[in-house]
């Protein structure tokens, strides 16, 4: 959990200089850009994980 928080804090500190937006909701847009790729990757992993578990379960059936 500590590693996760450190990663999030690092992302917030380091990434803002690279990405940005123009409207008043820029903070909300940026947070999506910053964490979108991490959450997207987690989602993909979750999907694969489900498939792997399903496959292993089938092997032992």
């Amino acid at each position: 959990m500590n590693k996760k928080i450190a990663l999030i804090i690092a992302a917030v500190i380091l990434l803002p200089s690279a990405y940005a937006y123009l409207d008043p909701g820029s903070g909300s847009m940026l947070i999506q850009i910053i964490f979108g790729s991490i959450l997207g990757a987690l989602f993909t992993l979750k999907m694969y994980w489900k498939k792997i578990v399903k496959y292993i379960k089938r092997l032992f059936r």
Binding site: M1, K4, I5, I8, V12, P16, A18, Y19, A20, Y21, L22, P24, G25, S26, G27, S28, M29, L30, I31, Q32, I33, I34, F35, G36, S37, I38, L39, G40, A41, L42, F43, T44, K46
Partner: protein, 452 residues
């Protein structure tokens, strides 16, 4: 044409009434998105899943800037997020995210995720704003993300982590609870949830840091990343829990009475509801909805009102299970919802959403008069304003529960007797029938409103 006061934000169209029918005008600026909604198969899929309100195209006279007029299916009673219990807000949040996920599959996206766009029809959440779906542009972040966090995630987190009554903040903050406020109010332990940490705490910091900065974007948000955000929000909402403490069955003060009198009270209510044949019933002080369920056998819709979050939560979960025609709402009848928003005209007061065809006020008047110090004439006048017919129960001072209320009240309460009760109510109602509940001292009255 009467334009709906709450329908002013979207330049692509608005709601209006003509006669007793409600329509939505779609302006030419909204033509492309509406056509995509209809042709992409998204409309059919959402309507089939009962996530989006259905409509038909209306052939009525239209102005020059109007592309089309549609007539949405009728929603019998409009409720607001600050009147919902925990599970209602949670269901509404999940429905919004489900709509966004399905929309993405059809290359569309929600441009608006206001909780006010969701209404409960047959106890399930339904998106009523047909124009809130727009074409999805690859790479663009979700424009309604901030609104979702403020309208759903922040209040749910506050209700779940801090106190369920904090949903009433939505009454003050009609555009959603500011994330910096939510972040300050949430306990430190909420930061251990990755999703709450990102979507509320860091989101609030990001809003503060980048609020006034003008910077150029180098890269957008891929479809997969956007889906990752939606799923993460879904996980956050699903993880929110609220369990009422205590036992629900303690709520009925008739619990002190014999089964015979409870059965008799049910029978009287059933008979009178059958006689009135009301379309819309308001059961005030409904607790967990025992009497609402009797009314809902005959009425088209029963609004089941109580101030207790635990009772309304239990009522909603039961309604959902049984598929009853009941809408449970958290409203304190001594301080009902008022007119709110722009020009005090955007969100309607409870009174303005009436009158109900019938009001049920069982085991309530003694609480109002003795505990809340509301004089009987005021109670009678209020019921006259909100209902065309009234089924009301009178409990005498010798009644066990009334005795308890009187004993708990140190200050002198207003005059309270059967004679005074009838005198006050006769000023506003005609007594159609009066009957004593078997095996008890309590009296039930069926009354008809004397026109104001």
């Amino acid at each position: 044409m009467n334009k709906e006061p709450s329908s002013y934000k979207d330049p692509d169209g608005f709601i209006f009434t003509q006669g007793c029918k409600m329509y939505r005008q779609i302006n030419y600026s909204g033509k492309e998105d509406y056509e995509l909604l209809m042709s992409s198969g998204l409309y059919n899929e959402l309507v089939k899943e009962r996530l989006l309100i259905s409509h038909k195209e209306a052939m009525i006279q239209r102005s020059q800037d109007c592309y089309k007029i549609i007539q949405p299916e009728k929603v019998q009673f409009i409720s607001y997020p600050y009147e919902w219990c925990f599970s209602q807000l949670k269901k509404a949040a999940l429905a919004t995210l489900r709509i966004q996920k399905i929309a993405l599959r059809h290359s569309m996206s929600l441009k608006d995720s206001s909780a006010f766009n969701i209404q409960f029809v047959n106890c399930k959440p339904l998106l009523i704003d047909t124009l809130s779906l727009q074409k999805y542009i690859e790479g663009k972040p979700w424009i309604a993300y901030k609104q979702f966090c403020e309208h759903f995630l922040a209040p749910l987190a506050l209700m779940s982590y801090r106190d369920v009554r904090l949903s009433k903040l939505l009454k003050e903050y009609l555009d959603g609870i500011p994330l910096d406020l939510a972040s300050r109010l949430l306990p430190a332990r909420s930061k251990f949830s990755m999703n709450i940490m990102i979507h509320i705490h860091l989101h609030a910091k990001s809003q503060k840091y980048f609020g006034n900065k003008t910077i150029r974007a180098k890269q957008g948000l891929s479809r997969k990343a956007l889906l990752g955000i939606i799923v993460s929000l879904e996980d956050a909402v699903n993880a929110m829990k609220w369990k009422p403490t205590g036992e629900w069955n303690k709520y009925y003060d008739c619990i002190n009475y014999s089964q015979k009198s409870i059965d008799d009270k049910d029978k009287i209510l059933e008979k009178w509801i059958d006689r009135l044949k009301p379309k819309v019933v308001w059961d005030i002080g409904a607790n967990t909805g025992k009497f609402s369920r009797i009314a809902s056998k005959k009425a088209q819709l029963t609004i089941s009102i109580d101030k207790d979050y635990a009772a309304v939560e239990q009522n909603y979960l039961e309604t959902l299970k049984m598929n009853d025609k009941i809408l449970p709402l958290v409203i304190d009848i001594t301080n009902p919802s008022t007119n709110l928003g722009w020009n005090n005209n955007e969100r309607k007061s409870l009174n303005e959403r009436g009158p109900a065809d019938a009001i049920i006020a069982l085991a309530l008047v003694h609480h109002l008069t003795i505990s809340n110090n509301i004089p009987l004439p005021n109670v009678a006048k209020y019921f006259n304003e909100i209902g065309k017919n009234l089924i009301v129960e009178y409990a005498p001072k010798t009644d066990l529960n009334v005795k308890k209320l009187v004993a708990a009240k140190e200050a002198v309460h207003h005059e309270y007797s059967e004679e005074e009760f009838e005198k006050c109510f006769k000023k506003y109602f005609r007594i159609i029938e009066k009957t004593k509940i078997i095996d008890s001292e309590r009296i039930m009255y069926l009354m008809k409103r004397i026109s104001k």
